[in-house]
Amino acid sequence: MAAPAAPPNILTAVLGKAVGWARTRSMWPASFGLACCAIEMMATGAAHNDLARFGMEVFRASPRQADLMIVAGRVSQKMAPVLRQVYDQMAEPKWVISMGACASTGGMFNNYALVQGVDQVVPVDVYVPGCPPGPQGLIHGILTLQNRISAGEYAIR
């Protein structure tokens, strides 16, 4: 992981805030649409309730150019290593939103096939509840993440 941030001091406080602010203004999500939540993620990206207001309307397919991974849908045992590989190939600073009940806790499918909670594979920053969470729910999750980043909580990434 990135080197731990220096303790906040008067000299870099403003720079830290500026960096935190800059990082949230245009976070490009890596399109990791898996199941039903992916449909709601696309609906959030489309015209009606628009992600372009936060500078996030372009879903980068390749992890190299993505800052935020929205795990939208149920993660099966076969998909977990792929998810981990894509997460590893993303450049720091990177964040993860676990969208929906299936991604956060395995949801209603407590059986052999699903990874019960994607936080066993990647570190999750914001969990969005719902099955599937509506576009408003996802946008609320994104805003929560942005506020915490610009407040400097995740600056160490």
Binding site: S31, C36, R74, S76, K78, P81, V82, R84, Q116, C131
Partner: protein, 479 residues
Amino acid sequence: MSKPPDSVTGDTEAPPTGAEQAPPESPGDQGRAKRRVVHDLWLSGTEAPVDTGRFTDEGAQEMLLEEEAAVLAGQRGTLVVDDYAAGVEPSTEQTQIVNMGPQHPATHGVLRLQVELDGETIRRVKPIIGYLHTGMERTGEALTFMQGPTNVTRMDYLSPFHNELAFSLAVERLLGLEIPPRAQAIRVLMTELNRVASHLLWAATTGLDLGALSMMIYGWREREAVLAFFEKTTGLRMNHNYIRPGGVAADLPDGWEEDVAAIEETVLAGLADYEGLLMENPIFIERTHGVGVITPEECLAYGVTGPLARASGIDFDLRKAFPYSGIEQYEFDVPTTEHGDVYDRFIVRFEEIRQSLRIARQVAETMPLGDYRSEDRKVTPPPRARLDQSMEALIHHFKIFTEGFKVPAGEVYEAVESPRGELGMYLVSSGGAKPWRLHVRGPSFANVQALPVMLTGSLIADTISALASVDPVMGDVDR
């Protein structure tokens, strides 16, 4: 080609896949050990607990450089000999095997296509699926019949109503339950509007794949109108759990006729825009004519149904052949075209949107009055108000929601025409409150299997449009 699984561990020894075989412990063994362990949580910001990234190799399921003739024919899609299968002559160039893998913008979900490329042209294709396998058929056996629709509706997440309808029809046929006409009409209305919403999403994402970005914005704009009506009626935009064995969960909200009329007006206006935008556009025509062709014989052999089969000239629609839920009283026609390429699939699906809207209008005009679920209180819970008046209603309510209603033993196969083809439910009941076996025949499962037929010999750009025109929904494929 792959050695049969040895009887004790049932583990198929992965044949050498071009990479040097790891000494005694193949990645598969480590993978199994690592996967079954429930790892502790990885708190954000801390050191990574374990390295699971290395085990994406699927051993025997992957494509090999040299394959036997039978497997090669399957991957080249030349199994069905009909009069216009163009033979793909083996090239002398050095080819490479590339992954259009699980995380890919154009595979409409987590479908992994292994393609052997000769420059830009595709020599053979092997679809690898299972990346969204949720064990739903196993979960179906653990839930009662009452809870079944919640599990089933998450399979084909673009047409949840069709899943629920197929499940409910199968259970009702086993029960021999009569459904009041109003419930049947509501079911037809909801499934046809669901077909419109699913085709709109398909048009949006396929347009996006072909480069028509505005198509994505338009498609979703109309779809939101339909989803608003679904949310108003069922309470949810998706995964509604609205069509249940015995009828529907709630009656239509008042003023629903105006909503359906408004939907029809916006969607028809939108449809005129799409056809103006796409159908005469020379670039679009060049990108879709003669791409992803599948012939009627291949549709029959591979079990490809729905708009794909109708675009190849097979005039077959389950709503006409095996009418269900009272759909035979509405007239609509079944669009078919001849050439079976991507352009024809656009024609067929746009026409199907018009026909579904036509059915919705007829349902709105002739909606019968009466109860929206069957009177048999063994299956459908009594109205809430009755609970504190009659002891019997309380007992029925209690029994239905605790152990669920019992379905007589037997097996039945019930199919509905989903936007992607024939969605069938094979339900075996052992007389208990939970299904003994629930097999779902997903239309996309057969359509994805026919991909080698459509993609072999075409360019990569054609693959994107052909794959988008098949409209595979991975929840339907992997279940």
